[in-house]
């Protein structure tokens, strides 16, 4: 089975996002990691390779710094890596998806795995966009995946329920937490990953049609009120919720 995994490098979840005076994101203090959802995608690819044999190729679009995320995926056990070179990440996910689709078309992939969402831009768009651009089925927010012959059965998390979807391969799958438990890279894996060359290709980027005009901090909340230090504060809490906040 020939599997591609699209991965993004994102700030780690601990990171406090600082803004510059020009109201852009200040990247200087950010600790970058492999997008947590993409770890599930890599893990699923490795498990499928263990079952069906074949090859796992990780693909990432971005500037030089994303090579460290690529190395993390290789250290987990991916076989090959491609970086689509850009100066920065496009602001428009449709542009990213277009460039990824162009690269994916060159390989003969049976399955394309992604995270359901990148935790920086939070677009949650690329899996569905790739489905349309590649003209193949795409299912995202997947918590259970079974591949059998040319067919795939996916359980997808929706609001308050799950959906069961069946489709043919090749297909695009977006991974949600719960799909699996990503493995830690072994020391051997880390050493091996260092020797795998990262193939670099030039990006074919269309123009961004989504622009970020500026970033702002969310409105600050006023420091809260401690109503009491025992259950005796409960009537007052309920009164405030009813009369002051008017939410109950």
């Amino acid at each position: 089975m020939n599997i591609a995994v699209c991965i993004k490098q994102t700030p780690d979840t601990e990171t406090r996002i600082k803004l510059t005076e020009a109201k852009t994101v200040d990247e200087s203090d950010i600790n970058f990691i492999l997008n947590p959802y993409d770890e599930f995608a890599v893990e699923e690819a490795l498990k499928l390779r263990e079952k069906f044999e074949g090859e796992v190729t990780v693909i990432s679009l971005g500037p030089d710094r994303v090579n460290s995320a690529i190395r993390s995926a290789l250290a987990m056990g991916a076989d090959k890596a491609i970086r689509i070179k850009t100066d920065s990440n496009p602001t428009d996910p449709n542009v990213t998806a277009g460039a990824l689709a162009a690269e994916l078309k060159k390989g003969n992939y049976d399955l394309i795995l992604l995270g359901k969402q990148a935790i920086d831009d939070d677009h949650a768009q690329i899996p569905a966009l790739l489905g349309d651009k590649l003209g193949i089925p795409a299912v995202s927010v997947v918590v259970k995946l079974e591949v059998d012959g040319g067919k795939l059965t996916a359980e997808r998390e929706i609001d308050g329920a799950h959906e069961l979807i069946e489709c043919s391969l090749p297909a695009v799958v977006g991974a949600q937490r719960g799909l699996n438990e990503p493995r830690y890279a072994s020391l051997k894996g880390i050493m091996k990953a260092k020797k795998i060359p990262i193939e670099e290709v030039d990006a074919e980027l269309s123009a961004d049609q989504l622009q970020v005009v500026e970033f702002n901090y969310p409105p600050q909340k006023n420091p809260g009120k401690i109503i009491g230090d025992s259950a005796d504060a409960v009537p007052e809490l309920l009164r405030l919720l009813h009369e002051e906040a008017k939410v109950i």
Binding site: G131, I158, A231
Partner: protein
């Protein structure tokens, strides 16, 4: 600027966000129409009219009672063109987040996900959406001819504004590759955290799943959904679709009650835009208190039963 509101239905029931987006379209002061896709849907016009829809177009296809990612997207893209819309509004629900980008891709349109504010600015839209799980807010512009926007549930309120909806039915014939075979509802009709107006969440302080009847009891009295911190989910006490936070769901209810949750940055990222936050925690230094509007520093096993008791009285 003409707006098309996609009214999402699941198993023949309209989702609340459909009415919220009609309210938003009216607030934007632009002409708008509504589109519905499904098999047996004709009786939904009355409900849409009650919230102010003046024109509803049904795209009917007997084999599309269940959601089909590519099938629905083809129909919706055609609807945008046929109905002459420049803006497509969907809910940032599971379906909206799937259908939106596919439809946008067909139309070569740009899409903004999970928006919390939309305003008309000349003949353009100015959109606000949280990024980095709400750690920052981005002001967005879409420069494509058609603009696709998914709006976060619960941000705009549905407003009753009775109108008589003109109804049109179109037979929507498409071929599609993917369709939902089955909807597996763990707990049928369970209110999802992303749609709930009130959420009661429990964390590691709950000690174990056997104590969750307290969270559920309080949630029931509030008409709330139940949420959880990642610690509670990782421990296997709660299903992960309840997880609130950076790698869970981002929510903005009117009221968020955090019980035995410390308030780690990843948790706060998912719920800090709640209108009111209540924290119940025995540690006065827990970071959740910095964000909470109202806090009680005490043992949750005293406080929550007392809340249930007082609410029942």
């Amino acid at each position: 600027m003409k707006i098309l509101v996609y009214a999402e239905q699941r198993e023949g029931q309209l989702r609340k966000i459909a009415f919220e987006n009609i309210a938003l379209a009216k607030q934007l002061g632009q002409p708008f129409e509504v589109a519905v896709i499904g098999a047996e849907i004709a009786d939904l016009a009355g409900q849409l009219g009650r919230y102010g829809a003046e024109k509803v177009v049904f795209y009917k296809n007997d084999s599309l009672g269940n959601y089909s990612p590519d099938g629905y997207a083809k129909i919706l893209a055609e609807a945008v063109t046929k109905q002459g819309a420049d803006v497509l509004l969907l809910g940032a629900t599971s379906t909206g987040k799937d259908l939106g980008p596919r439809t946008a891709s067909i139309l070569n349109a740009a899409m903004a996900t999970d928006c919390t504010h939309v305003e008309v600015d000349g003949d353009d839209l100015k959109i606000t959406r949280p990024m980095y799980a709400g750690k920052v807010m981005a002001t967005i512009r879409l420069s494509s001819a058609v603009k696709v926007v998914t709006v976060r549930p619960n941000v705009y309120s549905a407003v009753e504004a009775p109108a008589t909806a003109e109804v049109q039915e179109e037979a929507a014939a498409v071929d599609f590759t993917t369709i939902v075979k089955e909807i597996i509802s763990g707990a049928k009709g369970k209110l999802d955290v992303t749609e709930a107006d009130i959420i009661v969440s429990g964390g590691r302080g709950m000690k174990g799943p056997e104590n969750w009847h307290l969270i559920e009891g309080l949630a029931e009295l509030f008409g709330a959904a139940t949420g959880a911190s990642r610690a509670a989910v990782d421990a296997g006490w709660r299903p992960h679709d309840e997880q609130v936070g950076q790698t869970g769901k981002t929510v903005s209810p009117s009221l968020y009650v955090a019980v035995g949750i410390s308030g780690a940055i990843q948790h706060l990222a998912g719920m800090s835009s709640s209108k009111y936050i209540v924290a119940i925690n025995k540690d006065p230094d827990a970071p959740i208190f910095k964000l909470a509007d109202y806090g009680i520093v005490a043992d949750l096993f005293d406080v929550v039963p007392r809340m249930i008791e007082e609410m029942k009285a």
